[in-house]
Amino acid sequence: MKVQFLLNIMLTVVWVFLTGSLATINFIFGFLLSFLVLWVVSRNERSQKYYRIAPRLVGFLFYFLYALIKANIQVAADVVTPKFYMTPGIVRYPLEAKTNLEITFLANVITLTPGTLSLDVSEDRKVLYIHAMYVEDKEAFIADIKHGFEKRILNILR
Amino acid sequence: MIENLSIFPILGQAIVAVILLFFWRRPKWQRILSIFGSSVNLFIAAALFYFVYEHGTQTTQLGNWEAPFGITMVADLLAVSLVLLTNIVGFVLSIYSNANMVSARVKFGYYAMFHFLIMGLSGAFLTGDIFNMYVWFEVIIISSFVLLTIGGRKIQIEGAVKYFTLNMLSSIVFLTGIAMLYGVTGTLNMAELGRVIPTIENTGIVDTISLIFFIGFGVKAGVFPLYFWLPASYHTPPAAVSALFGGLLTKVGVYAMIRTFTLIFPLSEMNQIILAVIAIFTIFFGGIGALVQKDVLRVFSYLIICHIGFMVGGLSLFTEVALVGAVFYMFHDIIVKTTLFMMGGVFFRIFGNTKLYNMGGLMNNYPRLSLLFAIPLFALVGIPPLSGFWPKISLFGASYETGNIIMLVSFIFASLITLIIIAKVWNDTFAKKELETAKLKQLKYFDQFDRREKTAMILPIALLIGVTLYYSFFSEHIQIVAERIGHDLMHPETYIKAVFPSKN
């Protein structure tokens, strides 16, 4: 129920963003509309925990931006220089994340940072296969993600 | 109410069609609703016809936007006559479909498509806006396309591919013409176009655009050398569909030609020659095509083409008398061709196929049916005083009036070859001895039909034959209507005045 409510609020915010009108009536309308939409789209959605999102979310955002820019520069250097310095490969990454949401979040964030691409999740949801540009040291690469993104994401989502 | 009068035939069909869509899975209900809806619509169309006949052209300015700002629907006598005929055909075919259309097809929207198609036809006749006409044409194409392919067998699909491609192309051509017309005139209202076009200095481009329209409509009308889709597809769907197509679809093209070439681009001498040449070739190729066919439905298909030549030829002569003939011929052809294809359905039920060499014995086994069927066949030939004869008087007369003896000879050729072909059909289907063909086991044979089904098959044919006979013996009525239409067509001011009551 709570999840529904949170989602509802989230969508209301999106609505307000979309319409760009901060009037109260718009919030109410957005809320009602989101409610309706959620009613339309939710069947058998299991409820999840959504507490404590806000502060960690902000922290995460900054970390993400940092990673994004750092990686972009690394890749940029490789792209614009004539020779390729990269050492690409597909890495088997054992997942800590359990739920679909966690996995998806993680996978997307990994994909969004330059140089890495989440290819697929195994059937048993224990392994994420990642294509990466710089994997000279596989263990270091895995650890980097483990302590970087995955930890932060799980902090937010759990 | 009067403001909306000319929209009612469209609205009526639309409502019936939408309601039918709600009864998706109930064929029985659909059948009843369709017949009921068709009869209501027939009544509406008749009332509209009567009103227009008595009180002159009616217009509906949709959205209450004065022309040319909105879309104007114009119910002049030509349009309402065609709408009335369309609804007559629709009514009888909705009865006929009872026996001809299996429930499986009905469950997949046959009746809704059917009413949408009739709505499209009515719309195309009534609209006074050239782009709106395009949209109606698309309704016609897509619904006929669905009707053509529904439950598609091999040959149906093949025919549909041809039908689709050429008709789609014709729409593109039509739209190209509309775009260019808009580029030149800045308006889409047909009455306004009629006023603006004569003021355009660059007459060359206007002529070219008019020819583009001609080609676009020519495909729909089935003129030479654009008719190829027609014989390739008309014989493939079930009889009720063929009948609807055979009677009405090509006529929309002819109607559009008549409308554009009288109202928007009155025929220039050059275009008159082009139309005349095309008409003559249409007659010739339709005639010889029909002559060599061995399937009765294909014979009828080619005859459609051949007879389109009468209408286009009439238009090309471009006098009032000629248009009277063309219009009268069109009225006649709608009814008779529909009847013929419905008869084709009966043949199919009796013989299991429609090949001339596989039929026979109808006259000995079903004498009264034969007598009934003889009427449309002879009407088609134009055996006087049946309906096909009357317009020929005007058409022949117009040929003399314009000194176009070649056209006259073509008309004679068309009549003669039709006569020979129908005599052949008669001999093969009716007169010849019945062949010992094994009755198709997978087909419900005519004699196995119960009374209701037989009535559903024969009654609509008889009704249309009644209309034919009315044409034949009360041709004065039709002639008067045709003459008024001919006069209106040659004097588009009346049309323009009806659309712009305040100006002028």
């Binding site: - | 392919t149 699909i157 789609m168 192309l169 593109i172 260019m180 808009y182």
Partner: protein
């Protein structure tokens, strides 16, 4: 730019026509789609080209002043696009059905309709 777009329209038509004249049913439909684009561009051109002035009445005004793009062709194109979409989707499905029934994509193999037997 007008000339460039006029030429583009010509190219679109030409390409559409060329594709329609191929033997593959798929190419035929693609050709019709391309032709549809050509028609749309043509309609668009016929309204006259105006840059950066969409036919939308400004926020605080009750009507448009000055130069603006002709909204009529735009409305026509919208209608045309939608209609073509309907027809095209049906045509695409027809390919599917045709392939199922006829086991071919070759239009030239579909020549049985006009046999005189």
């Amino acid at each position: 730019m007008e000339i460039l777009l006029a030429i583009m329209t010509g190219i679109l038509y030409a390409a559409g026509i060329y594709l329609i004249l191929r033997r593959s049913l798929v190419k035929l439909i693609i050709g019709i789609v391309v032709l549809g684009n050509g028609v749309n561009l043509l309609i668009f051109l016929m309204g006259g080209l105006v840059k950066g002035q969409p036919p939308i009445i400004p926020k605080d005004s009750h009507h448009i002043e000055g130069i603006f793009a002709d909204p009529v062709p735009q409305a026509l194109i919208l209608t045309a696009i939608v209609i073509s979409f309907g027809l095209q989707s049906f045509a695409i499905v027809l390919i599917k059905r045709a392939y199922k029934v006829l086991q071919t994509d070759d239009i030239d193999a579909m020549n049985k309709t006009d046999d005189i037997e």
